[in-house]
């Protein structure tokens, strides 16, 4: 009896297996560049709606950016100045960050370095819960609890103002700052901690001298994501700022933000009208602001790495 001949070894794979591999690669590439396509598409459509306003005699770019006069429905003399809303957005965001950054970074440090693993798990669940509260519910809290609180504490005329909205935004961006910040600290190699400990650093010295420099970029990213959240937030600030178009002179003054303005007026304009296009132009402006924030973050991160 002859033994069966061994099958010759062929350096080939069946065509369908190769084709499948190619298809998967193509699919993954599509996923990868989809973000670029989406951002480009969104920008294109928003810009397309806004662009025709530049031709209108009632609209001037200088007036748009530097005038505080916002009378979009005036019959005799329409004016589209959003400076007050730009200032309102900046005021609310800045104050919110002034509150949220120290708490957020502090919370991240506590979670990652000081608390016991058991407590950490509990705290993280609670913080994630904070992130899960819908923004309109935050708005309710602003309308009722914070409103009453500010009136009682500061004897404010209205409780719906810069401080109210900033407190809400701080609480809303806190979970982002804490969880991204904690990830950044956790990503610091343990050998750095060991080096610090072996040189006799106390826990706080180690945080201050080892972890903060080592996790700087990640912490910066956490803060800027918080800023992004605060700038873009709409519903809560719509309900809590008081919605008055004016440059605030104090923390207890009502303001209006760019986002809240779009949201509140969009439902009342007729499509394609001048007012409609101006609201889209505000959208382009918001786009520009967030783009600048991200660019600044990117440059800061790169500059420091060098």
């Amino acid at each position: 009896m002859n033994a069966p001949l061994p099958r010759p070894i062929v350096f080939r794979r069946p065509w369908y297996s190769v084709a499948l591999e190619r298809a998967i690669e193509a699919l993954i590439m599509v996923c990868g560049i989809s973000a670029v396509i989406l951002v480009g598409g969104i920008f294109f459509f928003v810009f397309r709606e806004a662009f025709p306003i530049l031709a209108s005699p009632n609209f001037g770019l200088g007036e748009f950016l530097f005038s505080i006069e916002w009378y979009p429905t005036s019959v005799r003399d329409v004016r589209y100045g959003v400076l007050a809303m730009i200032v309102g957005t900046l005021a609310v965001t800045t104050l919110a960050m002034a509150i949220a950054v120290p708490f957020g970074i502090g919370g991240a440090i506590y979670l990652s370095e000081f608390c016991t693993p058991k407590l950490r798990e509990t705290l993280k669940v609670v913080i994630e819960l904070l992130a899960a509260i819908p923004s309109v519910v935050w708005g309710f809290i602003g309308l009722t609890v914070v409103n009453d609180l500010l009136i009682t504490l500061f004897d404010a005329a209205v409780g719906l103002n810069v401080l109210n909205a900033a407190l809400l935004l701080a609480l809303m961006s806190l979970p982002i700052i804490v969880s991204i910040g904690e990830d950044a600290l956790k990503a610091v190699p343990d050998s750095y901690r060991e080096a610090g400990v072996a040189l006799g650093a106390t826990r706080w010295q180690m945080v201050y001298r080892v972890l903060l420099p080592a996790a700087r970029n990640g912490l910066l990213a956490a803060v800027l994501l918080g800023v992004g959240r605060a700038v873009g937030e709409t519903m809560a600030v719509l309900m809590a700022t008081g919605h008055a178009v004016q440059i605030p002179t104090g923390l207890l003054e009502p303001v209006r933000t760019l986002t809240a303005n779009i949201a509140s007026e969009m439902g009342e304009v007729s499509q394609g009208s001048e007012h409609y296009r101006v609201l889209f132009t505000i959208g382009v402006l918001l786009f520009g602001i967030t783009f600048l924030v991200n660019l600044a973050a990117d440059l800061a991160v790169r500059g420091r790495r060098r």
């Binding site: 750095y192 610090g196 072996a198 040189l199 650093a201 001298r209 420099p213």
Partner: protein, 259 residues
């Protein structure tokens, strides 16, 4: 008061250590003499690194470590309740297996210990500059790095990083330097440089080195401790341990029959 030089750099007495339920050190008693290089050798998992990490109590970073027995450094019990770990680690420096300079400048790495231990007011620019220059001189990095003190330490070559890790111990004027396989990440030239540095440093410090590399132990150490399964099997002069080991297990290990 008359300053009596302590008889032993480090002394361990009946030292037992458990990681959870696992006993990593068994009744270890050991005297490490000052101004010598003592090598801890043995197969993986024999407890040599654990023993080293008892001398500055850095073992305790991981929870669930339990220790009994005593360790004295320069005649003081380091496990006594009133001992401050911060002060202990100022006196007992450590060099790790992977060079671990901090991700800050070369300069700040060297003065890190001073910044941590000294009052801010005493750290004038002149004091810091002087500390950096003399520490880098001592490890032979000054001429290479004097113009790039502000570069990030993590971007240096590995052997420069490891020398820097030794240099940053020096401003604190430690008595003991613990080295945990300090050359295992380096090439032969880097290894030679670190070994030569050890010869220079041993006149002033008590050096304990853990090494996997038996030829390194033979080259650099004056005394050698052979450990197996958490116990000290033999501790004697290095040439004696390698040429005329007293214990059969030592003999088998140094001849490479297991490991």
């Amino acid at each position: 008061m008359i300053a009596v030089p302590p008889p032993h750099g480090i002394e361990a007495r009946a030292l037992n250590l458990w990681y959870g339920d696992f006993q990593a050190l068994r009744d270890v008693s050991l005297r490490v003499r000052p101004q010598l290089i003592t090598a801890l050798i043995g197969p993986s998992g024999c407890g040599k690194t654990t023993l080293l990490r008892c001398f500055n109590r850095i073992n305790e970073r991981y929870g669930s470590v339990r220790t009994t027995g005593a360790v004295e450094v320069l005649g003081q019990d380091v496990y006594a309740p009133e001992v401050s770990l911060v002060e202990l680690r100022k006196a007992v420096g450590m060099v790790f297996q992977r060079p671990n300079p901090l991700p800050i400048s070369v300069y700040e790495n060297v003065v890190f210990g001073l910044r941590v231990h000294e009052e801010r007011g005493r750290l004038t620019r002149a004091v810091l500059d002087e500390a950096v220059e003399s520490a880098l001189h001592e490890v032979g990095l000054w001429s290479e790095l004097k113009d790039q003190l502000q570069t990030r330490a993590t971007s240096l070559q590995l052997d420069q990083q490891q020398k820097l890790c030794i240099a940053r111990l020096l401003p604190l004027k430690p008595s003991v330097i613990l080295m945990d396989e300090p050359c295992s990440a380096l090439d032969t030239a880097g290894t030679r440089a670190i070994e030569e540095l050890m010869f220079v440093l041993k006149q002033r410090f008590t050096i304990v080195i853990v090494t996997h590399n038996m030829s390194q132990a033979r080259r650099v150490s004056d005394e050698c401790v052979f450990m197996l399964l958490g116990e000290v099997v033999e501790h004697t002069r290095t040439e004696q341990l390698f040429l005329t080991p007293q214990d059969a297990r030592t003999a088998d290990y140094v001849e490479g029959r297991y490991g």
